[in-house]
Amino acid sequence: MKKSPVFRLIFAASVLLVCTWTLNAQQNYVLLKQWGEFGDKPGQMKYPTMIAVDKSSNAYVVDQHNQRIQKFDSEGNFILMWGKLGTEPGEFTYPYGIAIDSKGNVYVVDMNNNRVQKFSPKGDYIASTGSYGTEDGKFKYPYGIAVDEKDIVYVIDAFNYRIQKFSSDLKFLSKWGSEESIGFKAYMPHEIAIAKDGNVILSDRQNHRISIFTKDGALVKRFGDYGEGKETKVGQFSEPHGVAVNSKGDIYVCDRYNFRIQVLNSNGEPQTQWLTSGVLDDSKQFPIAVAAGPDGCVYVVDHYAHCIQKYKPTNTP
């Protein structure tokens, strides 16, 4: 059957339209909500650092300069808070990282007290471990923390250049991450996350790279390189900070001096990105931490703007 020129034209236009739609149908993220401002009242924050989201989409935020943890519901409504400056159980001196286990317990890195504290979902103190030092179970400025599906706790021990693993009751299990064992020196790594396959993802901030390790510290993959400014490509980073993984295994990276979140697939291949402050400049507003909620939403901490941003993925062209 011979096709008419009109039919061919319509067919070609249809193919072009479908192709264009497919290309543009990558996931986008729209800002749903933003909450927080500078202050010390409930719901206000002073230089928040890391964030963790539980199974009910409640967000726990490390309110660093208020020396406390704040818990919000998924709409950003304040629920409760705990902590104050100090060294006693339940007190903090510049807390940094935060993570949640399968039972909803909350682990907080108490950075300048060189310890990790464990709390109930209501903020009741349960246990702690660590003090300043180089021995197993001790820390020299712990930063990021993550908990895997078996409730094994991973802590970045920054100035001992290692990752330490603990049981859920904070008993030391093992350590890894030395330059000899991984083949390079992690340079101010800040955040850690668990991949969908159980591997461990590390933001190697001053190396501008992301590294993936097995649970025992064997290097699986290392990707990214330095890029900053208008010419920066996806997959390049300038001081990548917070990292998180969603239920599909996608990896979110706070590319802080590019003022954006980059989304990578589980192989580290760039998928999409968005600017969190809306502009690409050297303002002091930039993303420092990210968490993926069970509802697919993404929560971003802006350290210097003292706020939390909640983004929703969309598939609209």
């Binding site: 300069h65 400025y141 100035f159 101010m188 001053q206 501008h208 330095y226 050297d282 002091k284 210097y304």
Partner: protein, 301 residues
Amino acid sequence: MNTTRLMRLFLYALVLTLLSVNFIIAGGGDKPRKCILVFGAHADDVEGMAGGTLAKYIAEGYQGIYVCVTNNLAGNQIEKVPGNWDFGSGKLTAAITLSPKMYQVDALETMQIQREEALQAAKVFGAEPVFLDFCEPEFWMGRKLIVYGSEEFIKFDPPGRKQISLATRYSEDVNFVVALLRKYQPEITIMHTPGGEKLDHGESGYMMYLAFKRAISQGIPVGKLWTVSRGWLADSVAQQSGRGKPDVRIDVRNHLKTEFAAWSKHISQNGGEIEKHIGLRRPARDRSFEEFITILDNSKQ
């Protein structure tokens, strides 16, 4: 018991009490060995002021106290790692991070990094590190310098005691340094030039001067207070008066290795290669001798 015997007993008791009080005020106890205390404003200032002298006296058996007066909020360029910096051009060479610039890192990280480096440096000397945590007047927030008094500085409220120049105005802060002198009773204390070459340096020097005077007045057995001759004291006009001339000259040629090894621990400030770093200064200072001016001498009391 007659009145005279009672009076005698009372007098003995009084003398014993006074001796005990003086003993307690002075810090008491057996001082196991003589002490040298170097009062540097920032991490690495001890080395720059008197690193060779500290090494020499420790080698001679003195207890060495390595004091870092401020909390080191500022001044950290994290890209300065060994082999990563061209000392001639001041630019990065084989940059590990590939970043084209040497950015400062955030305030809390800077404090941590420099404290760790100072701990390592003190260990090289065999000295006891002491951190007083007086606040620096500036820090980095992202890539923006925040200065004392600004809205951002107040909001950030960095950890630490008062800013050092303010602290010299307050008795409680001077007493904080007096307590340090009471604890160590140093035979030799070395400080920056009061009012000297940099804000924190000069104010740290002045703070020690105030504390040292107060320590003497309280009967604390401190010895000599030396200052380096820098800044306005080394100014040619000031030198014409004949004042500001060093009266102490320490031969440190046999201790330069220790000094440089300690100094090179401050990687974030000198790239871990201090000999290249100070070699850039023109004219390079002969480091074979370290010279000081005696400001106060309580050693004959």
